[in-house]
């Protein structure tokens, strides 16, 4: 074997670093995507305003830090109930009226919500890039030749924890079972006495709480500005389509795939082109396996 191509110490370190970065990034993407896929799976609505709730979550963390120097991880205790409430109110005011309307009406409603929220942020807080720099964002941990940032590790751990709690909730609680039943067959669930409106309220609130929490978690890692949600939500769409819209386990796997494409793409082609890598992946998946890598075939042509 050509000695230059043999895996040396340096190559293994690079691979390990890429692997660790992938997993850390994937965990955070999963929390963003899981809310989106939950809302889609149960309500059959693609929430085009999902990124804007992430942006609001980042702003909450930013203001808590700059006004009271509260650590973003403590802010989570406020953020999660706050965004649960915001999601609940948004459902009642905006989504309830269009839940049984056509896809186009739903698209325009959430797009309108997205435009309004982005510009509320612009008017209130200007377009400046703002950053949160708590002490842990500058601590670097080194293990076996890999290096990563403490904030990233904590964000990953919390995101993973929250995602697992959500999984457990969906799987083992009565409410979770009711929600899954509604996702499977809305009419049958109604006939069994399920209050689907209540399920939708809860679903939207949980989905927004997830993304609000994700906003607090990413705030030490990325700058926040009124359109900050866009870069993440585009990613989340890729993740969710890869995993099959509505499929929560698929969303986890999709997050890892997108994170891997991003990490490996940035390593080989430079950070500038990483987005091209996953958009091409996205379009390729849409063309060849539109129901997702693990989804049921044919879902995309039903338009659901």
């Amino acid at each position: 074997m050509d000695p230059a191509r043999r895996l040396g110490r340096a190559q293994i370190d690079v691979l390990a670093q890429l692997g660790v970065s992938t997993v850390l990034l994937g965990g955070i993407y999963a929390l963003i995507a899981v809310g989106l896929t939950l809302i889609f799976g149960i309500m059959r609505v693609v929430n085009f305003a999902h990124g804007e709730f992430l942006m609001l979550g980042m702003y909450v963390a930013f203001w808590a830090y700059s006004l009271w120097t509260l650590d973003p991880y403590f802010v989570l205790f406020v953020s999660i109930p706050l965004f649960f409430g915001i999601g609940y109110v948004t459902y009642v005011l905006v989504m309830r009226g269009v839940i049984h309307a056509s896809h186009n009406v739903q698209i325009f409603t959430t797009v309108g919500l997205s435009t309004a929220l982005q510009n509320v942020a612009l008017v209130l807080w200007t377009g400046d890039f703002r950053t949160v720099r708590p002490w842990h964002s500058s601590v670097v941990i080194r293990v076996f030749g890999t290096a990563f940032n403490l904030s990233q590790v904590v964000a990953f751990a919390i995101a993973l924890g929250l995602t697992l709690v959500l999984f457990a909730f969906m799987k083992w609680t009565h409410t979770g079972r009711v929600m899954r039943a509604t996702a499977q067959d809305h009419d049958a669930a109604t006939l069994m006495g399920v209050d689907t409106d209540k399920v939708y309220r809860l679903t939207f609130a949980i989905g927004i709480a997830c993304v609000g929490a994700a906003g607090a978690l990413v705030s030490p890692l990325y700058a926040v500005y009124p359109t900050a949600g866009l870069q993440f939500v585009l990613l989340a769409y890729v993740v969710v389509v890869l995993g099959g819209l509505g499929d929560m386990v698929g969303a986890m796997l999709g997050s890892l795939i997108v994170a891997a494409v991003e990490v490996v793409g940035s390593y080989f082609f430079g950070v500038a082109w990483k987005e091209v890598c996953y958009f091409i992946l996205f379009i390729a998946v849409l063309v060849f396996r539109p129901a997702g890598l693990f989804g049921q075939r044919g879902a995309e042509t039903l338009g659901v």
Binding site: G112, I283, G303
Partner: protein, 325 residues
């Protein structure tokens, strides 16, 4: 003239006013607003061809706008050729890209299609903003001003008429769709694709046709806009905001109606220019308030008045007719 329906008469009046305005008004601010209203109206009408008449809701039409803008800007700034050649090149490229997107519309419906169009415009955005050697990257391209019709270096008055021609062209396409066999077939596809296919309508081919036509018109609009404004910024011409703007104008005015996109453009563009002019000095962010209003308006319109301003006007007309009787 008497036999025309009220919306056609209103369109004739509006376009006539736009044609006469430059003869009376010389104020460049007013003329500038008029040009932008006509251009955004025409572009929204182009979006309406796919989104309204054929029911293929794209959130990536900025891709075609950007293709048109870049073709002409590169043609003039880099190769010292006429922007008209750039316009033709933009149309050719947009026909190809529109064909590809139209093909996607045959495989994907509803939100899946909307997502794929967003992804497409984002790929072009990244390409244009990162390919420094050719497109000048994220700095954008200033379009050189060379006086003359062949180089599109025109004054405000002449630009009003260029924009007017574009607006009439897009309006005419819409009117043609409303009365033609293809238009009815597209409406059938929009309402129920499976039923339309069962009736023997070639839905796949027609959807590609509608999306491609819409793409080509959007590209022409993009070229003219770039030549008028004189600067191409990739983060603007390929932005999702721009794609949403086309949809927003159309829905507020009336989705799938010929006059709707223009009514929407009159409302949105004039409020935007007014707020920009008022708040430009001390707080630029405040100009964003018009988008808050329109985002909210979009939510309210699709919920309570899904036929937009046109539908409201129709309801008002019917109510008055009843009150008179």
């Amino acid at each position: 003239m008497v036999s025309l329906p009220p919306s056609r008469r209103a369109a004739a009046v509006l376009l006539g006013v736009a044609a006469l305005a430059p003869l009376i008004v010389r104020d460049s601010f007013v003329l500038d607003s008029l040009i932008l209203i006509l251009m955004w109206g025409a572009l929204s009408a182009a979006w309406n061809v796919a989104g309204g008449y054929a029911g293929q809701v794209s959130l990536g039409h900025a891709a075609f706008f950007g293709i048109g803008a870049y073709s002409a800007a590169l043609m003039t700034a880099r190769f010292q050729q006429s922007p008209w050649l750039g316009l033709v090149l933009g149309v050719v490229l947009s026909l190809a890209a529109g064909g590809a997107i139209g093909y996607l519309s045959n495989r994907l419906r509803g939100p899946y299609f909307a997502l794929s169009t967003i992804a497409f415009s984002q790929v072009l955005l990244i390409g244009a903003s990162r390919w420094r050697g050719f497109t000048a990257g994220s700095e954008g391209i200033p379009v050189p001003f060379r006086p003359g019709v062949w180089t599109l270096g025109l004054g405000h008055v002449a630009w009003v008429y260029v924009a007017l021609v574009l607006a009439v062209l897009c309006y005419a396409v819409e009117i043609w769709l409303e009365g033609s066999r293809i238009g009815y077939q597209l409406a059938g596809i929009r309402e129920d694709e499976d039923a339309a296919e069962a009736l023997g309508i070639a839905s796949r081919r027609l959807k590609v046709f509608a999306v491609t036509l819409s793409a080509a018109l959007t590209s022409v609009g993009g070229t003219l806009w770039a030549q008028y404004v004189g600067f191409v910024d990739p983060f603007y011409v390929f932005s999702i905001d721009l794609s949403i703007r086309f949809a927003l104008n159309t829905i507020i005015g009336g989705l799938g109606t010929a006059l709707g996109p223009f009514l929407g453009s009159i409302l949105i563009t004039s409020l935007e220019t007014y707020l920009r002019a008022t708040f430009s000095g001390f707080k630029t962010g405040f100009a964003g308030i018009y988008l808050v209003i329109y985002g909210t308006a979009l939510i309210l319109v699709v919920r309570f008045a899904p036929e937009g301003l046109i539908g409201l006007a129709g309801r008002f007309g019917a109510w008055r007719a009843r009150a008179d009787a």
